[in-house]
Symmetry: C2
Subunit: 349 residues, 2 copies
């Protein structure tokens, strides 16, 4: 590779599969004491004194991401974040990941280096070790599979199934921004196709674009809750959309819910971009998805401990199962909560 003139690209076939993985992972450090054996053998070895958590996700080009507006480095970063979020949603600490990438021959070694640079950045920031993985060919497009490994003491693990009636429903951060960021990126991409010389000024949309392209996982929330001495009774990652995940929590815990529209946390940029795109901000917050935030329930007694925290919003409370699952609108209408968006037809009809 040293002989390549600058700016030339290296075909994947110029390195074999094994040399490629060595090459891509050469700068990764091992920092976790629980990592006993990393990349380079048939399997990785980790040693946890407590429970081990495992979560896996498969991201597919054209379905989960579009390389027209997703830089490769951000893609690598986001692929890790998506999985870490699932570990944090169990109130656990993420410790290791494995990454498998399949890509067609349109990708070069330099393209994979970009993806791995993003993976490495995420590993450093979130303090997880890359311990395994492979690269392989695909017939078409890029697929990334990440498995995240975590650790937690038995008594600290929070499942989806522990919510009880009268408990408070809490969400971290704010909602709808990742979806609105995607709308801006799609629109600019259409403009770019018509006039490639057009240099869009995306700075007014910085926050929502960053939420789409470089989301963060809420590693801080389990840490914060421990500091506040609050143990959630149930918890879930809401990247598939607030409404569907509230329903999951309700179904797993066999409870109902009252969600208050006015309590849903929205960034001002989400509100203004929804106006610009003529979209309903509540609908976007409920079902836009890709907000890597945590949704959890706490006992009413714990409310004083969290109420002043700007990272956390109480958005409703749980009820007995027979009361049903509803959103209470700003107009004080009670409407059934549905998985995708929310039905505007009142319950009695």
């Amino acid at each position: 590779m040293q002989d390549n003139p600058k700016n030339s690209k290296t075909k994947l076939t110029e390195l074999g599969e094994f040399k490629l993985i060595d090459h891509l992972t050469t700068n990764f450090n091992i920092t976790q004491a629980s990592t006993k054996l990393s990349i380079g053998d048939d399997a990785a070895v980790v040693r946890h004194q407590d429970n081990t958590l495992i979560s896996t996700d498969l991201l597919v080009e054209g379905v989960h991401f579009d390389l027209a507006y997703m830089p490769l480095k951000h893609l690598g970063y986001k692929a890790v974040i998506v999985n870490l979020s699932d570990i944090y949603a169990m109130n656990a600490e993420a410790t290791q990941i494995t990454v498998s990438i399949a890509c067609s021959n349109r990708f070069t070694v330099e393209a994979l280096e970009e993806i791995y640079a993003g993976i490495q950045k995420a590993c450093e920031i979130y303090n997880v070790d890359l311990v395994g993985g492979d690269t392989t060919s695909s017939v078409k497009g890029l697929q990334i599979s990440v498995t995240a490994i975590g650790v937690a003491e038995e008594e600290n693990i929070v499942k989806r199934s522990g919510a009880k009636p009268n408990e408070l429903l809490v969400v971290s951060g704010d909602l709808g921004a990742a979806y609105m960021g995607l709308q801006v990126l799609k629109r600019e991409n259409e403009v770019f196709k018509v006039n490639p010389n057009n240099q869009p000024d995306l700075s007014p949309y910085a926050y929502i674009i960053e939420r789409q392209l470089k989301p963060e996982a809420r590693k801080d929330i389990p840490e914060l809750l421990e500091k506040l001495e609050v143990k959630p009774t149930s918890m879930i990652d809401i990247s598939d959309g607030l409404s569907s995940e509230i329903l999951h929590l309700c179904n797993s815990s066999k409870v109902g819910v009252k969600l208050f529209e006015e309590k849903i946390p929205l960034d001002p940029m989400v509100i203004s971009s929804c106006e610009e795109f003529e979209l309903d901000s509540t609908t976007i917050a409920l079902s836009g998805g890709e907000d890597y935030e945590l949704l959890f329930t706490i006992k009413q007694d714990d409310f004083p401990k969290i109420k002043a925290n700007p990272n956390l919003s109480v958005i409703g409370h749980m009820t007995s199962e027979d009361v049903g699952k509803h959103i209470i609108t700003r107009a004080e209408q009670q409407i059934p909560l549905v998985a995708r968006g929310w039905s505007s037809i009142p319950e009695q009809e």
Copy 2:
């Protein structure tokens, strides 16, 4: 779905993602005591007293399998086997798997049921629990990502790096059959394209076709070695081909090797099909690949314990690194071992 007339197919969109996973995994049982939480939360929870092993693989339609001759149930089975083999290659016990599947809308619910039937069969036979996974859309084709979890005591784990000069090189089973099975299937597929009414008699090729379509992982080998009181000094799964994996073992252990061509175990059907296809059986055994067998090294003192075992063949011995890596042919020529096939050019030229 109950209303569907028989033989009609169900589109994936008729069930949502979450109902689909519930539907596909409803018949799976949890049998491992170490499985604390299975499918249905953000992450699975396992509890191992010892070291946890993790291995992951991504199988891509058109690269790793061709649905023209791979039945979906076998594909599900094989996707599990491929990963379990990596756990056994660490001298460990496989305990759990997670499975992520991406597929295009040409696949029906019934097609996924077939894949999951194969996954379930493998879980039952190999005594592993399915603890996580998801299904998602792909733009084109089918991708399956499996992560296998295993457990082993620290002192039992066998890495690639422990081989020493003068130790014996041992392989389980016989080699080259999976590749020859694929050649037969490809040939019959070509015949079928020309004349779809042609019913080929594949029974003379039963063994090699089964090695391709329904391979088994060598769960029995770590168990056998324990019974024989033999601890391998190094071990590797050879599904990528005998020659490349011998080189991996040598490189990880910093040793050389002498491999004896005449000692490589071949099934008579591999020899006869190689003659039929005019292929060199040694080349096929060395680099055909997809033989889910284990390659390992043992101390010379352990030879009496394994020599009578029909599952194990001593195929060579390790040397100091400076002696190099060679195959000794039947004609007693010494030829450098290379990753793909083997060079027929003597070393001095």
